[in-house]
């Protein structure tokens, strides 16, 4: 069965750690990193990348436009 898989890439240095993406994710992919970026914010990362469907909800609510979303269809 064809499966749609997604992935997000976060611009770590621009992320301000507001957690809105974490809240908007329907498949619970995003968490906040314990480490901080250059500005001292806990940035977002993919904790469960296998669940990501590339629905772009996180990128839509991101106030700093730091999220790039990728989506690919796998035949297997």
């Amino acid at each position: 069965m064809a499966k749609i898989k997604g992935a997000i890439v976060i611009d770590v240095e621009r992320c301000k750690g507001c957690e809105l993406c974490m809240d908007s994710c329907p498949t619970d992919v995003i968490r906040m990193e314990k480490k901080v970026n250059g500005k001292g914010y806990h940035y977002a990362y993919m904790e469960n990348p296998e669940n990501c469907t590339g629905c772009i909800n996180c990128a839509l609510v991101c106030p700093d436009a730091v999220i790039t979303v990728y989506r690919k269809k796998f035949e297997d």
Binding site: K16, C18, P49, V61, Y70
Partner: protein, 265 residues
């Protein structure tokens, strides 16, 4: 885990991009607080200008307030206006260049307090411009003082016990007010705190730019937004509070489409 990494390598390729930051936003990091709605509104407006391909034909008017630096982030022609006077400046620009797309970007302290007169008269004259009105209920930039749009009972730095409407008057609904004027063509209220609302706002903002071609009047879009620093909440708490309180008083939805008021049943 290794298989998963392999898959990620396969997914994260340029041909699979479905969403990326629009090139009409500059690389400058937004000066806004974490979780602020301004960033989303900036991005959506720029996405629409990119999709319509009108980058060189659009002139934006930046206000006074947190978004005063909008001209640093939006990679289009911008003009800075004095506090509240953005609709007057936009009128002048639009009359000099009727073929250009002109929009103003204003907060509630700018549009609903000091600029009420300019706003109402621009709306009444029916200038062919778009006004984006970001309403977060307080003066965010100066430290969270009470604004005309502050809700009844809402705490701000100048109303620490909540706004008392007997003493301080009632909050003003600018969007309903301008909808009654004959010059407005499209009046709507939106929000940007969830993906669904962002999609709806994008549709409305696109309409505001497309309406300028029709030359039938002014498009007025209110965006109910948050101010987590001014409200003294975390971004998530602020969004929840906004949904429960702000959206109850300022209900999202279209108020006037194609010059016709929408009757509520």
């Amino acid at each position: 885990m290794e298989k998963e990494n392999l898959r990620l390598d396969e997914i994260i390729r340029e041909e699979n991009i479905v969403f990326h930051k629009t090139s009409l936003l500059t690389d400058k990091v937004f000066s806004y607080c974490p979780g602020c709605g301004h960033g989303v509104v900036h991005r959506v407006i720029m996405e629409i200008i990119e999709e319509l391909g009108i980058q060189s034909d659009t002139i934006g008017i930046s206000p006074v307030g947190c978004s005063v630096f909008a001209y640093d982030f939006m990679n289009i022609d911008m003009q800075q206006a004095a506090h509240g006077r953005a609709p007057a400046v936009a009128t002048g620009i639009k009359r000099c260049w009727p073929e250009k797309y002109v929009f103003t970007y204003q907060g509630d302290g700018d549009l609903a307090a000091i600029g009420t007169s300019e706003t109402i008269h621009a709306c009444n004259r029916g200038e062919n411009i778009a006004i984006f009105f970001i309403n977060n209920g307080i003066y965010g930039m100066t430290g969270g003082q009470m604004a005309p749009t502050t809700l009844s009972g809402m705490k701000s730095s100048t109303t620490p016990y909540g706004r008392d409407t007997m003493l301080m008057g009632n909050p003003i609904k600018m969007t309903e007010l301008v909808a009654t004027l004959p010059g407005t063509y499209f009046v709507t209220r939106q929000a940007v705190h969830t993906a669904l609302y962002v999609r709806k706002f994008k549709k409305a903002a696109r309409m505001a730019f497309e309406n300028q071609k029709l030359k039938k009047g002014l498009s007025f879009i209110e965006v109910v937004s948050n101010c987590n620093s001014g409200w003294k909440m975390s971004p998530l708490q602020a969004n929840r509070w906004m949904e429960e309180n702000m959206l109850a008083f300022y209900p999202p939805g279209d108020i006037k489409i194609n010059g016709e008021l929408i009757k509520k049943t």
